[in-house]
């Protein structure tokens, strides 16, 4: 029953937030910390083998074969830790800001957390779908109510895109359901289906569309830069830090194991799209003058690399993706928080009008630098191990892909460091001269993030160990199915 506590405690916190309007952010923080503690309790009891643990399973809509079935294996464990670990940071990052109607904002964040956790633990396709959408509704409202000037149009685009994708996934889910003996939505029944190649081919696209839009992979990414830019910082962090991992997780858990033959047909295309995304986003990031858009595009590039690693579908690639999802979550939240601090103090997003901030804000400069180094995957920071494994995985599939994808690291280093140089170094100007160094909750958030970046960079083994058995199990399961 522990799992149910983790899944629904945020929901409870969300209701308390609404009732307790004056202390909404404190309530939200406490609630998210309790959820984190519970998830750490789960981790303490977790055996790092390929089995599913803490499984809850009861009938939900019995005549349709729908069960409330959820459980955690190594892959889910990482995702759960990602969610429960990052949400407190995200909430804390909003502490130094004032929001109108803040109780609703924090309630929506916690509501979304429940949805995300359901997605990452669901073992029933219907439950997965419900969680998938339950995470979408709150983020739509977060971005559309508290976002920037163009928020309405941008978020409508975002919503339509993702909703369209998920409806195709729903079509696929119902179709698979009707093929299972005994008509169930159980993931194991889906795994044991043996459909013909043509059916698997179009089912692949049903799921792939949903996941590709969420990640996003080129050419389904067009909603992303606008949405990230217009969203309030906490919304951007939720989107980039956690929500897009739903897509990658979906590929690992649902897409490839269920329709391996369909996947094999389109594998090459999926990897090529991912790699085009990396290069394309890096080039655009290179030319950005808007600091938040730059980070948004860099995120597309990083996610493209993770996606390519997953689609390569070997132990190194998938393991790399697992740890890199965690790292990307940490880094991107750090980056967007940094952006938020800069934009909030300078009231501009123009890189050209910044400079010299390091002189007046040394603590801020150190934190920024560590996060940048983590993002560009310097050895001994967290980004390195992930990108190394991912490139290794892609290399095992095709050397040239790996070579092109490897460009992302160089590209990334160039535009990230160049941004750092333009923003933090050089001459102070009128605008930046009064820049105040970080304080209070900002210091707490940034120091936690920097610590994580270095600790994971130096000693990633425990995290790799959590998902290793589950990843290997899943890969050999797919291989067996392909051999059959």
């Amino acid at each position: 029953m522990n799992l149910l506590i983790v899944l629904f405690f945020p929901l409870l916190g969300s209701i308390v937030c609404l009732l307790n309007k004056n202390y909404a952010k404190q309530t939200a923080l406490i609630s998210s910390l309790i959820t984190l503690v519970y998830s750490l309790v789960l981790l303490a009891h977790f055996q790092a083998d390929a089995s599913r643990q803490f499984v809850v399973d009861f009938a939900w809509i019995p005549q349709l074969g729908i069960n409330f079935k959820a459980g955690i294996d190594g892959i889910s464990m990482i995702m759960v830790l990602l969610t429960t670990g990052l949400v407190p940071l995200i909430i804390l990052s909003g502490f130094s800001r004032e929001f109108k109607n803040s109780s609703a904002l924090f309630a929506l964040i916690l509501f979304m957390q429940s949805g995300l956790l359901v997605v990452f633990t669901a073992l029933d396709a219907f439950l997965f779908y419900v969680g998938w959408e339950a995470a979408l509704i709150p983020i739509y409202f977060i971005c559309a109510i508290w976002g920037g000037a163009d928020r309405i149009r941008v978020n409508m685009k975002f919503f339509i895109y993702t909703f369209a994708g998920s409806l195709f996934m729903l079509l696929g889910i119902i179709y698979l359901h009707l093929q299972t003996p005994g008509n169930t939505y159980d993931i194991d029944a889906f795994y044991s289906l043996n459909l013909d190649v043509i059916t698997q081919g179009w089912l692949f696209w049903c799921f792939f569309l949903a996941f590709a839009i969420k990640m996003p992979i080129f050419p389904f990414h067009t909603w992303q830069p606008d949405t990230y830019t217009e969203a309030p910082t906490m919304g951007t962090m939720l989107l980039a830090g956690i929500m897009l991992k739903m897509g990658i997780y979906g590929v690992i858990r649902w897409l490839i194991p269920i329709v391996p033959l369909g996947f094999m047909q389109w594998k090459e295309l999926a990897i090529i799209l991912s790699i085009i995304g990396i290069v394309y986003a890096s080039i655009i990031a290179f030319t950005q003058k808007d600091i938040k858009r730059l980070v948004a595009y860099s995120s597309i590039a990083h996610v493209g690399l993770i996606a390519a690693g997953v689609f390569a579908w070997n132990a190194a690639g998938v393991q790399g993706a697992m740890i890199q999802m965690l790292n990307h979550g940490i880094n991107v939240i750090g980056l967007f928080f940094i952006m938020d601090i800069i934009i909030n103090r300078l009231q501009t997003r123009e890189i050209a009008s910044m400079g010299g901030i390091a002189k007046v804000a040394p603590k801020f400069a150190i934190a920024f630098l560590i996060i940048i180094l983590g993002t560009v995957a310097l050895p001994l920071t967290n980004g390195f191990i992930g990108e190394f494994l991912l490139l290794n995985g892609i290399y095992q599939y095709e050397m040239w892909f790996s070579a092109v994808a490897g460009l992302t690291i160089i590209f990334g280093a160039v535009y990230m460091l160049r941004m750092y140089k333009n923003v933090m170094q050089g001459q102070l100007n009128e605008l930046t001269a009064t820049f105040k160094d970080i304080r209070g909750s900002e210091v707490v958030v940034l120091s936690i993030i920097c610590t994580l970046i270095i600790v994971i960079g130096v000693y990633p083994q425990p995290i790799l160990h959590i998902s290793e058995a589950a990843v290997n199990g899943l890969i050999s399961q797919v291989n067996n199915k392909l051999a059959f």
Binding site: W60, I61, P62, L64, E133, I137, A144, L170, I174
Partner: protein
């Protein structure tokens, strides 16, 4: 059966109450009477009824479920009517009476076992509705609505009657079990009289008029817009549900073996209905008109169950109709308040509602999410059932088209959410009358509960 008698008597009692000027007793008596009818209807659940009155009517579980649904919706709508009819007319008792008579017709429509009863029920309902649509005697739009509705209704009844006559000609009976037997006895399509096929097509046309399916939908927007809003609510929820129940009952009982013949026709009607309803709704700036067109598109989704006629069809229509009725009642209820207190029915009138009245904005958001089919609301469960039903018969392309339409739907359903939450407007706070608060919160809670735990109503069939 008993509920039918109770409602008929209730209607006359209410008329007498009006005669003796007991205005304040009208609503309580009507609601209590309907609750009694509801209890009586539910008591007949699983009673293993057989056809009564020489096979004229059959109160099976299908009839009980749909009677209960329509009675509940009517109660909710009547609760919204407190103070509403007084404003637009002096003869309040007649409203209640006519609505109750319409409900009598509806209960006949969901429990018929003979095509003549289908016709009688449909006419009882329709004649009542012609009057209700035009009950604002001095209002031009209301008169137009009544006239249009009457002409179109009479026209469609003609088709229906012609269809019934042809089917009688082929099968020599109005009785549905005899007609069903006629079809079963003739396994080869050519053995069935061509008249019978023509009859089916004509009945499809007639019934499509009644449920407002394209291309027979032209009366819907004008009638919905011109009628008093509460009557529109009644028409787009209770009447529509009844129309579908009648449609489904006929096809499930009699024409199921001939699916290969009528399915393509109905498939075309379904696709047209989906697209015309949704695309036209997209271009509306009037909220009420938008709801009218969206109700056309919902008719399209509900037709899935008949196109892919199978074991789950009844369940799907029931779930969908419940979800749709609840959400529509909320939407129209909020519209009545907004129109009453801001004077407009356009999307702009909803600007800043989240500040002027957070409760109304919240329930309307739930209703819109439900109509758009977002999970955790009843509307999603309804769509989910429809999609499952259609896929069971491998109508994959139909679902793909439905997905395109669901996306179009998002645009106009979210428009009102955008107005309420993201746009600001001047103006005073809106007040929610007590009865509205009750009905709206009940419907909203029911929408969420059915969305989270649909087993409450999906276990019925």
């Amino acid at each position: 059966m008993n509920s039918l008698i109770v409602i008929s008597i209730l209607a006359i009692v209410v008329l007498y109450l009006g005669l003796f000027k007991a205005k304040s007793a009208l609503l309580p008596v009507t609601v209590i009477g309907l609750l009694g009818a509801l209890v009586l209807a539910i008591m007949e659940w699983n009673s293993g009824a057989s056809a009564i009155y020489s096979g004229m009517m059959l109160f099976d579980n299908f009839a009980v479920a749909f009677s209960s649904l329509t009675i509940v919706s009517t109660i909710l709508i009547l609760l919204l009517s407190k103070g509403y009819f007084e404003k637009i007319s002096d003869n309040v008792a007649e409203y209640y009476t006519i609505i109750l008579f319409a409900l009598v017709g509806i209960i006949v429509m969901v429990s018929y076992h003979n095509l003549t009863m289908l016709f009688v029920g449909l006419e009882i309902m329709s004649v009542s509705l012609y009057i209700l649509a035009g009950i604002k005697k001095r209002d031009f739009a209301s008169n137009e609505a009544a006239l249009k509705y009457f002409l179109m209704g009479a026209f469609s009844t003609g088709f229906l009657l012609f269809g019934i006559a042809l089917i009688y000609g082929a099968s020599h009976s109005f009785d549905m079990s005899v007609i069903a037997q006629y079809v079963i006895d003739r396994p080869t399509p050519s053995a069935i009289d061509p008249m019978f096929y023509v009859g089916i097509i004509l009945m499809i046309v007639g019934l499509s008029f009644k449920i407002g399916a394209a291309p027979f939908h032209f009366w819907t927007p004008d009638v919905y817009e011109g009628s008093p809003t509460l009557i529109t609510t009644f028409m787009s929820t209770v009447v529509k549900t009844a129309g579908f129940a009648a449609f489904l009952r006929l096809f499930a009982m009699c024409f199921a073996p001939l699916a290969e013949f009528w399915m393509p026709t109905l498939l075309v009607i379904t696709i047209l209905t989906l697209f015309i309803g949704n695309i036209t709704a997209l271009y509306q700036s009037n909220f009420k008109r938008m709801l009218a067109f969206s109700s056309i598109s919902h008719a399209g989704y509900m037709l899935f169950a008949i196109v892919a006629l199978g074991s789950t069809s009844i369940n799907s229509v029931f779930v969908y109709a419940s979800a749709y009725s609840l959400a529509s009642i909320i939407a129209f209820g909020v519209l009545i308040i907004v129109k009453d207190q801001t004077g407009g029915e356009n999307f702009d009138s909803f600007n800043g509602l989240s500040k002027k009245n957070p409760f109304l904005a919240f329930v309307l958001t739930i209703a819109m999410l439900s109509l758009a089919g977002i999970p955790l609301t009843a509307g999603f469960i309804g769509k989910f059932f429809m999609f499952s039903t259609a896929l069971q018969q491998y109508h994959t392309w139909l679902i793909v088209l439905a997905i395109v339409n669901a996306m179009i739907g998002i645009f106009y359903y979210f428009r009102v959410i955008v107005s309420m939450y993201f746009k600001d407007a001047e103006g005073k706070e809106l007040i929610t009358p007590g009865y509205f608060q009750l009905v709206l919160s009940l419907s909203a809670v029911a929408t969420i509960i059915l969305g989270i735990y649909p087993s409450l109503i999906t276990n019925l069939f």
